[in-house]
Symmetry: C4
Subunit: 267 residues, 4 copies
């Protein structure tokens, strides 16, 4: 019997949530669950419909992206997940224990528009304290070196540079939620749990695979709200920083008071 | 046994309607029910999914915002509800017996756009006789004093000043539904049963918790219709006052003739 | 037992279709069914939820708008239905045997924008051969004389004047589907089975109550398609007349060849 | 017993998928399945609701568009299907074994806007390597000669001319996914599995009737994403060709590595 049964179960259950939440058509999305002790993650097999998935179909992958256990091909996006766990989770991000990638409609539209999603309101600020960063396109050289691996590297590099490295960085910095300096590098994956890859689509993560899916739903909804906000008022302004900070802290700060416990909760 | 069983039941039932009507994802909304005799209201506990709620989970709160009965943390927005009941219901608004707050998509988009929703048509006029007012952002000082309490005060203050105190007040006054003077202060919460908080989202109320939910659904729909109206015709004009008054009065006036009784009905 | 049982059944069944097709929230719409022999129509009672309706709740109304049979108040829009049957059906329109009025979202948005819906494509041309006409606002005098009755008169008057009498008549005439003269008065209710009332919303009709609902669904969909068309290409052009005529005739002309019979079919 | 039972079953099953995927209201769409050995295809009968269809209702048609077997009238669009099988499948397109035509909302909006759908992102590039071509309007002469047959000829002619022959060809060529020359004629129906007919709507095809439906769903979704992309950023740029090629090849090239086999898979 597999020594990864519970990790597979976690990943399986989170992948089944994708169609329930309307995040993807057909098989256009995948979730993984990471076990930092064992240094492996469980991920969806490539191209298998969600409703056909069984827990034992999940593929176990190490941080080099190699298959540890499983007979099916893992998601073609597996190298991207591996990079993010390796660079974010291993380097101290306590809240990167699950990752989701989908082609959810509104998040993709912002990614295709190559625009970071401005922080227009409290729904957004409840979850991340700055604009949702959008990376530039992957370079030709990076695509040639290895598309999925370099997609992960591009995300890591974007977080290293901070909002100044995102596309549409001007409006992003404005709604950055960071009072004062205007310098916001690097981004902390424990605070900024979502990103858009320019021309492609969204990735999100969280302290579990289920919370990663939750953040994927949040991203899709704030992407939709922001598109509508711009349609109603093309010169809409980002939310003032003092409101951003209040909302983010009441859910995520040391004195968070949302929900039924004092611990960090994204619900 | 609780002396507030029926009030809890009313609040519970109305909260369960939120996901049915698509007004909120996850736990992003709450409804309360007010008992003016007892001077308390029942409200949703914070962060509990709607489908997990039981009537006895509702928390009983007094008008100072203190917990009277209940073991769970009340909604983090509880102080806002308390202010609105205290300032509106106690001061004579007969139709503020239930309050809803959600992050419904189109209403949030208008709030993020910091625009009052112009009164473009009869669907809107059937329910409130002026633009849906949008408050300015809460000030830095107010956020520091107490975010949720001051959100309530901001709404009350906005109603005291009338439409001139809302953001985007020019277009609001145009479609105000008030013939003649152009002076429309203060707003009457018995007539204007909904509001947007700038950068945040909608609050609505009604003569019961169920009617508050109904008004929350109405607000979301007229927000959606108005966004589409602007997209089709960016220079769309507010409905003439004489049609506004006719529609509002046929449902809400002393000679209302909509529905099966001659009494006030919002359905 | 009622002598109008089958007419009530027809109206009841068509009203139940409204929520199934997503044409109205709550009770925001009504359908009637007309019997030209008896000179009466059956209509939904006012303010009763669709799922609570029973066939015997339908109210029988004559062409003066008077109740012939029924204990509930008829829809507040009853005088509008009466005018349309009296002016259209009695004067020879063979295909006005059922009428629907709702506040469906996209049709309302066009009505609030005070724009006729340009005939952009074949989905539209399959059903009506010109732009969907939008009436001007009802005048102050008409509202004072009798709102619902005058709404009917406004529609009749608009059809009498033809597209030149609609709002946004320039673009309407362009996409009129009428080759040559540019003079298109009056409109024929047997051909043009739908209309928008400016600032209010849609009315549609058909050879039965069920076909009226069908046309209400068509109107909502072509309203949605046209709004999206304008968003994608703000200078989109109406479909050339020769394609309009072809599409309309293959479904509705004497040599119609759509469907399983050679008779007129709107499906 | 029919010698075409399995072909009818395939077409029937694919037609039933249309309402499940929300591609058409009422009977506004049809799918056919082609048997290249027998030189016939099975297609939906005209005007019959999807849920009423039985496999034996499918009509068998030869490549001249003549009924080979079946008692019901075939879809009025049958001559278009016949032309496409004759000109594409018989001339070597291995992947044209099923065809779908619907009036799905967003694809129709682009067709009505007379714009090819720019290739903005990887969701699009995963399926076709260039803009979704939009034909010009059918000419008056072609409509007079035979509407449905000439619709097929127009699609074939558009593929022969390549993107330079589409409407809005400038932006199409930009996002063509073809490095270098800029000359992209003719289009290969094995690569470009979808098209918009100007002023009308979408056609799509695939290696089976089920895959044709899949491509119809893909087209509707990329049409929706592209409309939102333009709304967010009216000057959005097409995806660079090197990313287009990478995405298209990882799913469709000789070294495709998406899914569970190394063969061509559109899922």
């Amino acid at each position: 019997m597999s020594g990864y049964a519970s990790l597979k179960e976690e990943a399986w259950s989170a992948n089944r949530e994708i169609p329930v939440r309307g995040l993807a058509l057909y098989t256009w999305g995948n979730v993984s669950a990471f076990d930092p002790q064992k240094g492996v993650f469980a991920i969806k097999p490539s191209g298998v419909p969600y409703l056909d998935l069984k827990p034992e179909d999940m593929v176990i992958i190490d941080l080099e992206g190699k298959v540890v256990e499983g007979t099916l091909n893992p998601s073609s996006d597996t190298p991207t997940h591996a990079v993010l766990y390796r660079e974010f989770a291993v380097n101290g991000a306590a809240l990167v224990r699950g990752i989701i990638h989908t082609h959810s409609t509104y998040a993709v539209a912002w990614a295709q528009a190559c625009r970071s999603i401005p922080l227009f309101g409290t729904t957004h600020a409840d979850h991340i304290p700055i604009a949702v960063p959008c990376t530039p396109y992957l370079s030709r050289e990076a695509v040639e070196r290895g598309y999925e691996l370099e997609t992960g590297n591009l995300i890591v590099e974007t977080f290293r540079k901070g909002l100044a490295g995102t596309v549409d960085s001007h409006s992003s910095v404005e709604g950055s939620g960071i009072s004062g300096s205007g310098i916001v590098a690097p981004l902390d994956p424990d605070e900024v749990s979502m990103v858009l890859v320019g021309g492609h689509g969204p990735f999100a993560w969280g302290p579990s695979a289920a919370k990663a899916v939750y953040n994927g739903v949040v991203l899709e909804e704030i992407a939709r709200m922001a598109a509508l906000t711009l349609q109603i008022n093309p010169s809409a302004k980002p939310l003032p920083d003092y409101i951003v900070n209040k909302h983010y802290q009441r859910k995520h700060g040391p004195d968070a008071y949302y929900g039924q416990t004092s611990s960090v909760s994204s619900k």
